[in-house]
Every structure is written in structure tokens, then in C-alpha cells.
């Protein structure tokens, strides 16, 4: 019940932040209306990164404590993280096309990093899907989550250095292109969208975690059912053998 309220609060907050960003804030002096995409784009990116951080930490927790609830948290965070990271890339593309003229280019380090983040997240989810035994699945997922998280800072630095001497003026640093005509409103819009998205994130995390727990219970039941069915079949077999001798 409390979760449902959280959901509605999140919905209202997002709608409010969207209206603010689309209509209330004046257009950027340099980027025009395209700049408005920044609000959901940055919020999505930030929450995607937060999600994968949660996945990694929950994975460490699982390896330490072997509590499958931590694994459920990791799973939920990974799925929600892939969602928000995909949003971030979409937002980046929708921003890039009007501002840069292209949907994608390799010189923006954040775009490249976010693409790798998405690939890592999808890989994590596929790994989980191909493992049946819950303990093995949780262990494998935890290892992959941890190694991926450790890789992120390395990716970050390598992509930034990559651009290095290569800075073309067309694809310069997005934050330098900004020229808000009302800096205060711009900050409020950004923070507001971030807060709204965070509420939605919390709601989605709770629901996805609940789903993970129930799905695990169903899975366990299925496993136990197969084991006891196998045992009954074996016992029945033994009886048949005895009576036929």
C-alpha cells in the first residue's frame, strides 16, 4: 500500500518536472529547445549508474553472506539499471542529432562509456537467464557484477584520454555549450527531474525486488516438486520391480 502511494507520488513528480522542463524553463541561448532533453537524459544516466553500483554492492554482500535476498536486490537493480541506461542513451541521441547533427559520435566520452555500461548490464541479465541453479546463478552474477563495476572507472579514464588531442570544435564538451538564459530555473529543472526520477526509481526497485522474491519461491517449489516427483517415481519403480519378481 505504501508502495502504491510512492508510485503515484513519483508519477506526479515526473509529470510536474516534465512540464517545468518543457514549458516553464526558457530555451537555452546556445542550444535552443534541444537542451530540454538534458533533464531526463542526465537524470536517467545518473540513476543507471546508481543502479549498477547497487548491483555490485549487493553482489559483494551475497558472496559474503549467501543471502539470496541480496541476490534479488542485485537482479532488480540490474534490470532497472539497464532500463535507465537505455533511456540515457536515447536521450543522448535525441540531444545529439539537433545539436551535433549526428545521432552518435565517438568523441563524447560519456556516450561511449554509457554504451559500454548498457552492454555490461545486458550481459549480466543474459547471464542470469542462462543459469538455473539459484546459488550458482547468484555467485556467477555477483562475480560479473563486481568485475564490471571495477571496470567502469578504467573505461571512464581510457575514453577521456582517447579523445585527448583530438578535440574537434563541433563535438566539444556539452557543458561548455550551455548558455542558460535563466541559470536558476535551469538548476531547479535539473534537480527537480532528478528528484522525480529518483522517486520513480525507488518505486520500480521495490516492485522488481518483490517480483524477484516471489519468482524465486515459485522456482524453488518447482525444483522441490521435481525432486519429490523423481523420488516418488523411483519408489514406484522399486515397488513394481518387487511385485514382478
Amino acid at each position: 500500500m505504501k508502495t502504491r502511494i510512492l508510485g503515484f507520488v513519483g508519477l506526479a513528480a515526473v509529470i510536474g518536472a516534465a512540464v517545468f522542463g518543457l514549458v516553464v524553463v526558457p530555451a537555452d541561448l546556445n542550444q535552443g529547445d534541444a537542451q530540454r532533453i538534458m533533464y531526463p537524459h542526465v537524470a536517467s544516466a545518473w540513476l543507471g549508474e546508481l543502479s549498477f553500483g547497487v548491483t555490485a554492492l549487493a553482489g559483494i554482500g551475497y558472496l559474503w553472506r549467501r543471502d539470496l535476498r541480496l541476490d534479488a536486490i542485485a537482479h532488480a537493480a540490474a534490470e532497472v539499471g539497464v532500463l535507465f541506461t537505455a533511456f540515457a542513451i536515447w536521450g543522448g541521441m535525441m540531444w545529439g542529432r539537433p545539436v551535433w547533427g549526428v545521432y552518435w559520435q565517438w568523441e563524447d566520452p560519456r556516450l561511449a562509456t554509457t554504451a559500454l555500461l548498457l552492454a555490461l548490464g545486458i550481459g549480466y541479465l543474459l547471464l542470469r537467464r542462462l543459469s538455473d541453479d539459484p546459488a550458482r546463478r547468484a555467485t556467477r552474477a555477483a562475480v560479473v557484477g563486481i568485475i564490471a563495476a571495477l571496470d567502469i572507472p578504467i573505461i571512464h579514464f581510457s575514453v577521456i584520454w582517447w579523445r585527448g588531442l583530438h578535440q574537434t570544435p563541433t563535438f566539444g564538451d556539452p557543458s561548455k555549450l550551455l548558455n542558460p538564459s535563466a541559470p536558476g530555473l535551469f538548476v531547479i529543472a535539473l534537480m527537480g527531474m532528478l528528484a522525480a526520477f529518483t522517486i520513480v526509481w525507488c518505486y520500480l526497485m521495490i516492485r522488481r525486488y518483490q517480483l524477484a522474491r516471489i519468482e524465486w519461491q515459485i522456482e524453488e517449489h518447482g525444483r522441490l516438486g521435481r525432486i519429490s516427483a523423481a523420488r516418488r517415481a523411483a519408489a514406484l519403480n522399486a515397488v513394481v520391480q518387487e511385485t514382478s519378481e
Partner: protein
């Protein structure tokens, strides 16, 4: 597409996508809860586990 078109596309997919995911989660959760209830009911109806051999 004008700039505004891209902005709309951006917001629509992101906000719409989040909404769709929330709805899908709600459906998956309801289905899972029903299955879980059914399992519990079947278990209670079946009584204590029978011991064969």
C-alpha cells in the same frame, strides 16, 4: 524533424518507457502472486506429504 520533435521524442520514449515498465511490472507481479497463492492452496489441499517406501 525540428528541434522540438527531438525533444518530444526524447521525453515520450523515456517517460513512456518508464510508465510501460511500471505497468508491465504490475502485471508480472500480479501473475506471480496468483501462481504463488495457487501453489499454497494446492499444498494445503494435498495434506501432509505421503511417504512412499
Amino acid at each position: 524533424m525540428t528541434d522540438v520533435g527531438f525533444v518530444i521524442a526524447g521525453y515520450a520514449v523515456i517517460l513512456g518507457g518508464a510508465a510501460l515498465y511500471a505497468i508491465a511490472l504490475g502485471r508480472r507481479l500480479r501473475a506471480a502472486r496468483e501462481t504463488s497463492m495457487k501453489i499454497r492452496r494446492d499444498a494445503e489441499a494435498a495434506g501432509p506429504p505421503d511417504r512412499t517406501a
